[in-house]
Amino acid sequence: MIEVLYFAWVRERIGIPREKIETEAATVADLVEELRGREDRYAVAFEDLRALRVAIDQELTDFSAPLKGVREVAFFPPMTGG
């Protein structure tokens, strides 16, 4: 079971800030593929991965990262702090 979090417009497009997902996905990219196939709102949110960033257990990573042993995955647009 993985806790999946969404921020900013990713959260708005999917409609929820977080959810628990039971998945066999090996990598972040596999998880994205699985989510895309679920419903249109996911397909819309994950339409262009170049516009997205991903963090695993609160560390920035990339879409090829493995999910084994991971507790938390977060998807969000490029950050705009400062």
Binding site: F7, A55, Q58, L60, P77, M79, T80, G81, G82
Partner: protein, 146 residues
């Protein structure tokens, strides 16, 4: 080193005074304060979202990086989230060092990394509606100089 991620307003003058008092004989203190701009189209407010937990860790890691590159007596990062009106302070950084070059460069480094590597997202609320602020290529490119 102090990192504060907090929705509350802060007084940059009071923060800077308190910070300066605690830096011992560091000869240089540099500070930067970010303010909500009033953009064309009439900005009424800004909403800042963040990733609780990751935000604090990411900022602490950025400060650690700065401390490994420059000799710093102390560093301060304050970043707000939630709803902010035009003219309100969004964030501030302060650095203290024996010499000004270290303090200036570390402050710029902190600012560059906070912009693109700390998980905050800004949404501008104007008369025309609400819009997420897009990350700019220049901000990403700014990291290359370090």
């Amino acid at each position: 080193m102090t990192v504060r991620v907090d929705p509350a307003r802060f007084d940059p003058g009071a923060e800077l005074n308190a910070f300066s008092k605690g830096v011992g004989n560091a000869g240089a203190v540099v500070s930067f304060t970010g303010v909500v701009r009033d953009v064309a189209g009439g900005l009424s407010a800004m909403e800042i979202e963040h990733y609780p937990g990751m935000t604090e860790k990411a900022i602490a890691a950025i400060v650690d990086q700065a401390k490994s590159r420059w000799t710093l007596a102390d560093a301060l990062v304050i970043h707000r989230y939630g709803r902010l009106e035009a003219g309100e302070m969004i964030m501030m950084v302060a650095t203290a060092s024996r010499h000004r070059v270290d303090a200036f460069q570390a402050a710029e480094y902190l600012m560059d990394y906070l912009k693109s590597r700390a998980p905050f997202w800004k949404k501008e609320l104007t008369r025309e509606g609400a819009e997420w602020v897009e990350a700019r290529d220049e901000d990403e490119a700014a990291l290359d100089r370090w």
